[in-house]
Point group: C2
């Protein structure tokens, strides 16, 4: 493509709303364009890269035998009511009505639709296993869309659904997808880590998130350098402190602790280790209609951090069904006292106790009375919980739940996630098959997503410098850019045109910058756009010499035209 | 692909909701699947055909130099308010709100979005001309979605937008698109006719509709076999009857015409030709908010048919802003009398008179009085219109407006439409460029749509028989199907496998029907699915002989394996 004919509008300025490098660079290169908050379009170069990512995804999916289909983006509410997710999905589900008042949503994911297909089409074990996928525009009405393609309201996703006879089949399907994902993200040039993850609103038993490592990512992962443990911090198991069975319970004592509203304060005031204290976190709960539906008090050891995802999982409710309570309001109903709440004296609320607390002796906790704490509080004797569960977060330096070595934390971008759904949807929606003995059994499902547009942003996060993007060859919008220094110079124009035609003929995707612009502008744009190979045709053209440079390297080479062409073809073919 | 591994569910029964052959066959082949009324998904084979149509469209668009992009499906209402279409588009525009209450629509077309891009990106004549296109899921909240992919609420469309300096540039862009469309529909195997069309809610001056000829189509076209005239009946010009300047006006006379509520009745009763009568049609008008906003009476010669599209164009309002009036209600306000309404005596309503009426003398029309008509009514002397315009329909047999020969009518499916928008959107939304003299001028636009999913249905309408679909090679989901008669027979299985591998190696797309089914089922499915070439591997396999048959032909041939393979490769390569 000749740039003089291409619609390309690069920006010199950093768009004010963009913070992340990927967001800034995708806007500055003109590859994406913002319509409104969280809604982007792909311009010619951006769309070329996006299609290349799609094609890598499609190729690896097809190799596993998965079959591509395309379901509607619009979904009737009835199916979501069958699965129980019409409420569970919360306000991120973008709802709408048709002209007759019938309710629909714009699909953020398609478990219901695919389950509906299968319950109609599949009746016998002979039709299984099966894996169907689609690459589709999806919707999530984010409260705070941000970071460009990273968290947008309309985005492109690949979602696949596997259907098996039993758990063993699912395990195999899951493993196939897991391996396909490793190939896909490797081909996209990403440094990534598959980590154990929470299943969230999708449900099911097991899940891995594929996380592209990046400081700016919104996923926090914990991993161990001594073993293979890697999980999102939302999901990572935490090893409970050893039960203190050999320590004797001391008599409960109430202490005056004026003004000690934080764990820090009370530990200092009473000269205790924070590990001897219990921290309270108070929540209000909402029902399906969005009405207040009681209170929750969660207790963890004073030096721990509460994990809200584990808490809602323990309560069996969706994430959006709780939020931090207004303490003064909660105080009247439950007897809690802001800054001095403990598990004793609380009433009319669900008490969730972290799994290690019952084993710990003689703890200090709020007395539900202004300026007072109890010391020597003991589980069973002094307080009890309605639910006991691991509700704490694995912090950096905590012992690895597998091998005990101190864990590390890292940030990353969730580019894919795989789930073992099991029979959650098939049982709720009646997707059964008959086995060899004509016995009806629920189909065992898995689901597998890739954020295609988000992957594009993640690639930019990992492949850029201060001058612009550095596309890996596999997803570069074009392989080679020819910067023609003086389009008015006949010799230069002819050499550039020759190189352009020879490269095109060899199947290389080439941009020819024949614009009537200063050379500095052309070089800046070439660097900004991140085309892997640049061939500069300038004064040397008269002697048959051009400049050859890879975007990722600092060095340039002066080469005879034929050699530059050969070298470009070689690197494109080996890396594309 | 082996059928034993493919998700394929064909139906023996005709689905009850389907009437059209394309709808029946696309459902019976399992190529599409209905989710709810007007919302369909594409299953593996259907999706393959759809992608092939997309690829043909993409290829021909790219050849013209048009650049592919992808804009969001979701569009903020603000842009539609700028263009004035937020109301004009009517209830087919599928509207929704986000969680903050902001209004959006699901795009049925993207003039606003593309104009918005261009007003931001283009400032100079040097950036023009430009043609941008996308292949995208679009939405239209149809009152009565029907006929499967033919009129659905979610569908796939290619829409392109051209941007030029002036009318001459637009004429060239329009012509390029027109020619690309001819190539696209030809490659898709369609018999079609480009016809002049109304511009409807899109607007602009000129338009052609590409109509795939089909008895079941919803478009009605008028064409002339003696010249090149072809237009939708909505749009086709009608030659006015010659003015009767030489006839003298007779004195107006009121006649008792008891019970003659139709033109037929009154013409018989008064022994007049219907051409001497005037027919009245009464409408109520609605404003932008959907409130009643006055009445309209339209008058045409008694033997003519009113053309509602021409009427709303004459009134300068959208199609959904009028509907037939409740006569008793309208009577009080305007003095009309059901069955006896004429242009005399009407008040408080907009009178639209067909363009030929002022030239016609001594006409008979209702007297706005029960059981009475006037005769010898003359325009100017006895009645006048607020608007005079061609508001009649070109009927079969009417003289061709170009050459005068009797016109023919045909039905067809609108698979594409091209529009000269001119400066409608650029002026409304402020998309200007500076010319060589730094003078600001509005960008001159065109827009060009193809109903990609509807094209799939149109192909089936034109290519099927009583046994199923007969796909043209270019859009067939697979080129060849190998029907393996006895998968349990080792020789047959080996021969089939060999053919399968040799064809795949030659780049042919092959289905191997290795299912454990009776041969009759396999043949029926092969015919139903419409795969262009069938190779049957049966008893002859032991002697190296197979049966070769084209879906479109009745004859079968017994051929040696190698010859059947060669023949298949040849026909696939020449037609794909």
């Amino acid at each position: 493509m000749k740039l003089s004919k291409m619609h390309l509008k690069t920006l010199r300025e950093v768009p004010s709303e963009a913070e992340l490098p990927s967001h800034v660079l995708l806007l500055r290169t003109g590859m994406i364009r913002k319509l409104v908050s969280g809604v982007y379009g792909f311009m010619p170069l951006g769309w070329r890269t996006l299609k290349k990512i799609e094609d890598i995804v499609r190729d690896e999916m097809d190799k596993t035998g998965a079959q591509e289909i395309l379901m509607s983006a619009i979904q009737p509410s009835e199916l979501w009511q069958e699965s129980g997710r019409w409420f569970a999905y919360g306000p991120e589900l973008w709802r709408l009505k048709d002209r007759h008042g019938r309710e629909f949503c714009l699909g953020p994911t398609h478990e219901e639709i695919f389950t509906d297909i299968i319950r109609n089409d599949v009746s016998s074990y002979r039709q299984l296993p099966l894996n169907l996928y689609q690459i589709q525009t999806k919707y999530r009405d984010e409260a705070r869309p941000r970071f460009g393609l990273m968290r947008s309201r309309e985005f492109i996703m690949k979602d696949a659904y596997s259907f098996d006879r039993d758990q063993e089949g699912l395990d195999k399907s899951y493993q196939e997808m897991y391996e396909a994902y490793e190939k896909i993200f490797t081909r996209c040039g990403l440094t990534f880590r598959p980590v154990e993850a929470d299943t969230g609103a999708i449900g099911g038993s097991n899940s891995h998130e594929f996380t592209a490592i990046s400081e700016v990512g919104e996923s926090e992962i914990a991993y161990c350098e001594h073993c293979h443990m890697a999980a999102t911090t939302e999901r990572a198991e935490v090893t409970d402190a050893a039960p203190q069975d050999d320590i004797e319970m001391l008599p409960l004592e109430k202490k005056l602790t004026p003004g000690t509203k934080t764990i820090e304060d009370v530990a200092n005031f009473l000269e205790l280790d924070k590990k001897q204290t219990i921290k309270a976190l108070l929540f209000v709960k909402y029902d399906d209609e969005g009405n207040k539906d009681g209170y929750v008090a969660a207790f963890v050891r004073g030096d721990r951090e509460l994990n809200e995802i584990k808490l809602v999982n323990a309560l069996g409710i969706p994430e959006h069904a709780i939020e931090f309570a207004d303490e003064s309001e909660m105080s009247q109903a439950t007897g809690c006292v802001g800054g001095f709440t403990g598990p004793m004296g609380l009433h009319d609320c669900t008490i969730v106790v972290d799994s290690e607390l019952p084993g710990l002796k003689n703890m200090c906790a709020g007395a539900c009375e202004e300026d007072h704490h109890y010391i020597n509080m003991n589980y069973g004797r002094d307080y009890e919980g309605d639910i006991i569960a691991d509700i704490k977060t694995l912090l950096e330096g905590d012992p690895c739940p597998v091998c005990g070595a101190p864990v590390k934390h890292a940030r990353g971008i969730e580019v894919g996630q795989v789930f073992k759904l099991g029979t959650k949807y098939s049982e709720a929606m009646g997707a059964y098959y008959k086995d060899e003995n004509q016995e009806e059994k629920p189909i065992v499902m898995g689901c597998y997503g890739i954020g295609v547009s988000r992957t594009m942003a993640a690639i930019v996060e990992q492949h850029h410098d201060e001058n612009g993007i550095i596309w890996p060859m596999s997803v570069a919008p074009y392989h080679v850019i020819i910067s023609l220094v003086k389009p008015g110079d006949e010799t230069q124009a002819k050499v550039a045109e020759d190189i352009y035609e020879q490269l095109c003929a060899a199947g290389v995707e080439v941009m020819l910058d024949d614009r009537d612009e200063r050379p500095g502008v052309k070089f800046k744009d070439a660097d900004l756009l991140g085309i892997p190979v640049r061939i500069t045709v300038g004064r040397g053209a008269a002697d048959g010499v051009v400049e050859y440079k890879l975007r990722r390297d600092a060095e340039k080479e002066e080469l005879p035209v034929a050699e530059a062409i050969a070298k470009a073809i070689e690197i494109v073919n080996s890396e594309k």
